[in-house]
Symmetry: C3
Subunit: 341 residues, 3 copies
């Protein structure tokens, strides 16, 4: 059965001002548009204000000035979107950890499992690992020798954590993520092949980090690869060896940081943003989707490069030819300018 | 031993007109160029017509007008390529499901396994899952609580299906694919970190969908993420939370749909095509490789944006400078135009 | 306890000229800058020569001309970087294979395990597989029926190898990699859906290949997909069906080879380089990051295409407009040129 809560309980948790009926039962979250009876909706983006009148939501989270023109039950917050985020955990359908170690898990005798750890079926944990209290390790995941997980980590199914990976508290790793695989380091062997450079560093991940499905964070060549606190990383991201990612930075899908990139704090990388090896990006930089950083960025701000603008394929074929002629175009323009005089 | 079939059997299955020897044995499929004795080849692309004379194929699938100039055994179809596709299953080397549940699989007692389900070694299936008749679940895969698979799904090894994922009939999921991981939803917490928005929706996948290796389909934030019927998705694709993908659409490798994208029916996305969040793309749109959609598309057709055209690296470095000067180029051109009068 | 070696032992292994104290103990590798007592550092890139004076390294690998101005212990090699790579294996923290087959592994009775094979917990190996001597198969990995691994392969945890995949000697596959999933082959079925083309080929991988985490190599449609010897492939790479990759080629993260691409020997692909289906790239070609190859390359050299150069987002928005006007710009320039006469 779906759990429900009184609006009053929710108001208390969010420290929100409640207008209306504190006893009404809330059994779900929704957008204003799709809300049904029992739902708590929220108004974060002002462009949806017009939906306030018609919503069937049981109650709405909104700002004070919006509440004045709304007759329904509401919770008043300065930041309704944050309030919605904070209360979302109450309605999560993610199965709660059961605090058990499944008998099929293969856990080395030296492993230090702290209190209240849940370990799913067929999990494999190698020698010397430490798993902090309250952690939940999903089915079929692997944790390599000497790795350490802080308290309250949530490791989904089929996650691969190599040896000597140090993870902080409250970290979430989604399925298919791979932490600590070898960085891509090879020296030409002079005979047309490659001599592997064994990757002697590890990976250190801070507290309250979330890492998406099929995302990889490689181990360092000599020193560790480092992901700071409160970093959020989407699916299909590549963090190469010896990168350092600053606290609070957000990285969208398909971004790639090449080797030894230093990314500052509170940066935001749109999808497919990439940074060339050994460069630094300072704090508070936004890279829009597809931005390709080829020299270090020292001034906060928003930077872009991109594929060309979207056009019909016919127009693109013509434009592509013209891009190839840009040097010629400039030379012709120069000649005209010179002749003008 | 390799199985073989008579050409007559194959003709009957494909409803093809047979010219030549119906009793000849066919033990494999091949291209015209590489065919050996026992092979059935096909002529789909007219540019390979010249290979018809020299082929060593036992028989060839082709169109009527091509058959007239070919003296060998042949099967006549209006669409030889479709005929080749239809008969390909007869020669597949993919191991057939054995209808057994491996004793090492960990299946919650509440799981509803329909008839003739095959479950590989070390598979883990959580509470309340329903697995339709004829499904085959590959080794080391995980299916989370409450998920439902329709009949005849083929789940490869090491697939991760989270909780509350509803999958139709005849769906194929390849290794490393992840269905139902959390969408990338966070609200800035006002202190330089991020408040997770728990993802309360699920994923719904239609019938006859194929999803490639290491592809991710995230669960919805409030409502479900939806993939329609007969959608085919290659490897390394990202379908973010709350996307809706229309029936019959094809998506090549490394495409990304950001959150809440609505993609129409019968669209074709070339590799690396990306669509910005909350946009709509109407039915029957082709996006060429690398196309980056930054506003909604309302007219069917072919659209492109791209990296720049390929050139020597030396030329590219010059061109890159000129792209940075485009605004200046336009201003200089304007001045010339004004002076002309 | 950390193992250490005498500088003399290391010199002998590297065939390096030793100047200084052959008995000094070396317990780690480091950069010149970060070296501590006991470390062996190396000077490969001349731009770090100034760090030679201040390093605390116990010894340094360097070239003869650099040694003359260095008073510490040193190993002289023509190629210090290659020397560092060669000795790196001595200091690797990767757990050594134990030569045991874990009792939880599910190995078909027909599997041919050669000498000294290590098989981790919950590994699943299907019918008819051959695993060469000295191989190490990581926890929770899967090897499909009829596949063959040469000697000394290192398969990490959670790797998926489908059926009929032939792998050479000394191959490393990282976690999340998928070898032999179906190529993306479908024929339109004439009713808005797709007829799957069963992928009848396999995959052949040469000797001394390394394949990164979450990288996929699809099986061929009719013939095999082929990866040559000494090929190195980073994370998140897609090698589509029927590609052939030449010996010694290096492929960085997020590269994609579409179907039937022939890539030559000793090529180097920067991150996100992509090649359109059925094209050939000759030997000794470098593709810089983001290069998108749309016609075959027949002349060795360095080729580029790219996203646009990085600029402020404000400047990019103006530039994007101008790119859309390039055809117009050219026409206006032509008119000016004509009027000039």
């Amino acid at each position: 059965m779906k759990q429900d809560y009184s609006l009053g309980e929710i108001a208390a948790f969010l420290k929100a001002e409640l207008r209306g009926d504190a006893d009404v039962r809330i059994s779900g979250l929704s957008s204003l548009e799709n809300a049904v009876a029992g739902d708590l909706a929220f108004l974060a983006n002002p462009k949806y204000t017009s939906q306030l009148g018609g919503t069937r939501a049981e109650a709405v989270i909104l700002r004070g000035e919006q509440a004045d023109s709304f007759s329904g039950n509401c919770l008043i917050l300065k930041n309704p979107y944050l309030g919605y985020a904070e209360i979302s955990a109450w309605f999560s359908r993610t199965p709660a950890p059961d605090g058990n170690v499944h008998p099929s898990a293969v856990i080395h005798s030296s492993v230090d499992l702290k209190d209240n750890v849940s370990v799913g079926a067929n999990v494999v944990v190698d020698e010397g690992v430490v798993i902090g209290s309250g952690c939940c390790i999903g089915a079929n995941s692997f944790i390599g020798g000497g790795s350490v997980l802080g308290a309250d980590c949530l490791i989904a199914a089929n996650v691969s954590i190599y040896h000597d990976v140090i993870i902080g508290e409250g970290v979430t790793l989604h399925s298919g993520s791979v932490i600590g695989a070898d960085g891509f380091g090879f020296a030409p062997n002079g005979e047309g092949g490659w001599q592997k450079i064994h990757q002697l560093g590890g990976v250190r991940i801070g507290d309250w980090v979330e890492i998406g499905a099929c995302t990889t964070v490689d181990r360092g060549a000599l020193e560790d690869t480092v992901v700071g606190n409160s970093v959020i990383i989407d699916n299909h991201v590549q963090i190469a060896h010896n990168c350092v990612v600053g606290d609070g930075t957000a990285i969208a899908a398909f971004c790639a940081l090449a080797g030894s990139v230093k990314l500052g704090r509170n940066c935001v990388l749109g999808g497919y943003a990439t940074v060339t090896g050994h460069l630094s990006v300072c704090d508070n930089v936004t890279l829009t989707a597809h931005a390709y950083v080829t020299k270090s960025i020292k001034v906060p701000g928003s930077y872009s490069s991109s594929t060309t603008p979207l056009m019909s394929s016919i127009q693109w074929r013509k434009t592509a030819v013209r891009i190839g002629q840009l040097e010629d175009i400039v030379q012709r323009l120069k000649r005209l300018e010179e002749n003008k005089d």
